[in-house]
């Protein structure tokens, strides 16, 4: 840890420790010897121009893409060698860029589907909607502003509500690390504000990694910002520091 984070304690055991991570697609290094550390209770925003490798980093953490070399340590689990569902089960949740929900199920059923019980074949066959499941679903629905739409079919929700629903589905899993790929894309101004408030609340007790382009939104949520460029870290630190960095202005913010 070369640099101390601002605003919260930075101990020697980050929740997520990415070291020397490299992935190459036919010789093209989408991520190149990346080092990234995320602490508990931290909201980290990753920004950068298109093709900088932001989404690839999330793909690598959640196991969707396999690393060429390097390590991703999450609470002493080496994620690069685990299967996707095992990574989820140790506490990593990931939201996709476009809302990825089950459109012909209700909001309730969408959330219930992510309840961390009955995840194996026979567990799913005998899964019962017990009171604790209902209570948990209702609590999460209230958190994501959808408690009035609990029995609405998901494809009838607005775009912003679908984004919240997917965040809610992740919350059902009680992840320790939450990764959100452009959570406010396509949201109205008031929805953005509510999402910022939501992120502030749900980052308590867990770590959140967000990819985002909207600078106002980034300012309102980020504890620390990492700027990626061509698979490498260009700058890292507080929003003010990053914004005034001439390199960052040159490749990203200036345009």
């Amino acid at each position: 840890m070369s640099e101390n984070a601002i605003g919260f304690e930075s101990d020697a055991h980050p929740v997520l420790a990415i070291e020397d991570l490299t992935v190459s697609f036919d010789g093209f290094k989408a991520v190149d010897k990346l080092n990234l550390y995320v602490q508990r209770n931290e909201v980290r925003v990753v920004i950068g121009p298109n093709g900088a490798g932001k989404t690839t980093v999330l793909d690598l953490i959640c196991g969707k893409t396999r690393a060429t070399s390097g390590s991703i340590k999450f609470n002493n689990h080496e994620l690069t060698k685990m299967s996707e569902h095992a990574i989820v089960r140790v506490g990593v949740g990931r939201k996709f860029q476009t809302p990825s929900i089950y459109e012909n199920l209700s909001v309730f059923e969408n959330l219930e589907m992510s309840f961390p019980r009955g995840r194996k074949v026979f567990g799913a066959l005998t899964f019962k909607r017990s009171p604790d499941v209902v209570a948990r679903v209702e609590a999460v629905a209230a958190e994501i502003f959808l408690d009035q739409q609990l029995h609405t079919q998901a494809d009838l929700l607005s775009h912003g509500q679908k984004q919240w629903l997917e965040i809610g589905m992740l919350l059902m899993q009680e992840p320790e690390l939450l990764m959100l790929d452009e959570p406010v894309a396509g949201m109205s101004v008031s929805e953005r504000e509510k999402t910022a408030e939501l992120l502030g609340r749900i980052s308590q007790g867990r770590s959140v990694v967000v990819i985002e382009h909207d600078m106002d939104f980034v300012k309102s949520i980020a504890h620390k910002v990492t700027v990626l460029h061509q698979g490498k870290i260009l700058a890292e630190g507080s929003m003010e520091k990053v914004q005034s960095d001439p390199k960052v202005i040159d490749v990203y913010l200036g345009h």
Binding site: H85, V88, L105, R129, V134, H151
Partner: protein, 401 residues
């Protein structure tokens, strides 16, 4: 009890659909048909097992297997091996050069019963083999394919290749399997002559009972969280995977269930028809079975049964009257279903039949049928659920015939 009613029978409408089918299969057909026709229906119903399995794995799981004949055939062959051994006792085969072995082995200069036939002297083993052998094969194929994320059309092609391979293998190993003729001339089941009218009647009812068992099991699966996961996987596989589920294991399960259904159908086919041959294993029968499910409605367990009956009645009628035209007709039917009624007869009944019924009842109900359906609490537990597109497991089909 109430939970079982909701889950297995699918509530009032699901129970009604099941009841109509039960009356049709268990009362109307046996009373109105002569033994020859009833036996024919029994044969069709043994194909319906495959179609019901396809509703689970294709309709809901999105796994289109073009090789279900493999499992139907394996189940049928296991049963045929037992019956053949019983029919080949030393006394009735005393004119053979080696008495006591099946006749086709004798014709192929085989002088001792092959080791793989030995355990089929036991009926208990045979029943176990009918259930386990095809399911184990399905598991093997499923693990090999789904763990490597082979899906969609590639999976279909592989299953089709397996169907071709198995039928070629059976035909090639004449001394072991009876070759292209199959295993014929089956007589008794533990001393009970299966060729008599009485035996055929009993077997018809056993067959129908087992079919209802499979339908109920299918309803249980589709009504559980696993059923919702299957649909979720079909539409958003990545989301399911990144919600902590091992997607492959669910696909393997549903593929195995479909294989086991097919195998039971195959065994019942052998018992009712009295022989088994490679012509029920290969590509053509496997695709025909997919057509049964498609015509009936791939999202409806009951629809698959009606589809099977209808296509087979059609086949019998047309192939007697216009033998050259039948294959074209069948192809045309499949194309028409895919293009115009993607949910088959069951889908047609859902959209048209209910409207018709409401009209027949007179406009006594002011609300549209769909709205009435949505307003009615239909869920299994405390919370109402929205009506989905596609057909619910509890979909009724009583008037589609």
């Amino acid at each position: 009890m109430n939970a079982a009613y909701e889950k297995l029978l699918g509530g009032r409408s699901g129970a009604l659909g099941l009841l109509v089918m039960a009356v049709l299969l268990l009362v109307v057909f046996p009373l109105t048909m002569d033994m020859f026709r009833l036996n024919l229906v029994g044969k069709y119903l043994s194909y319906a097992f495959v179609a019901v399995g396809l509703v689970l794995c294709w309709g809901y799981g999105g796994i289109l297997s073009l090789g279900q004949g493999v499992f139907f055939g394996l189940g049928g062959y296991c049963m045929a091996m037992f019956l053949k051994l019983e029919a080949s006792d030393p006394i009735s085969t005393k004119i053979q050069s080696t008495p006591g072995i099946p006749d086709f082995m004798d014709w192929n200069q085989i002088t001792a019963l092959p080791a793989m036939w030995e355990p089929f002297h036991s009926f208990a083993f045979t029943i176990l083999a009918v259930l386990v052998v095809p399911t184990a094969l399905a598991m093997l194929i499923g693990l090999a394919m789904f763990k490597r994320r082979v899906g969609d059309v590639y999976f279909s092609i592989v299953t089709q290749a397996i169907a071709a391979i198995l039928s070629i293998l059976i035909i090639g190993q004449q001394g072991l399997t009876g070759g292209v003729n199959g295993i014929t001339d089956l007589k008794t089941l533990m001393g009970w002559d299966i060729r008599t009218d009485h035996a055929k009647l009993v077997l018809y009812f056993v067959n129908a009972g087992l079919l209802f068992g499979c339908i109920l099991f299918g309803r249980y699966v589709l009504g559980s969280k696993l059923g919702r996961l299957l649909v979720a996987m079909r539409d958003k596989e990545e989301r399911v995977r990144f919600s902590g589920y091992d997607v492959a294991s669910f696909k393997v399960f549903v593929f195995c269930a479909a294989a086991m259904f097919s195998a039971i159908g195959g065994a019942m086919f052998t018992l009712q028809v009295g022989f088994m041959s490679p012509s029920f294993v290969g590509i053509v029968p496997s695709i025909e079975m997919v057509i049964f499910a498609a015509v009936g409605g791939r999202m409806s367990l009951l629809g698959a049964v009606y589809g099977t009956l209808l296509v087979n009645f059609g086949k019998t009628y047309f192939s007697e009257t216009f033998p050259e035209l039948w294959l074209f007709l069948m192809g045309g039917l499949f194309i028409a279903v895919v293009m115009y009624f993607p949910n088959g007869l069951a889908g047609l009944w859902q959209t048209q039949g209910k409207r018709l019924m409401d009209k027949l009842r007179g406009q006594s109900k002011p609300v549209a049928p769909v709205a009435a359906e949505a307003a009615k609490p239909v869920s299994r537990a405390s919370t109402p659920e929205p009506k989905r597109d596609g057909i619910e497991p509890g979909a009724t089909l009583e008037a589609s015939k």
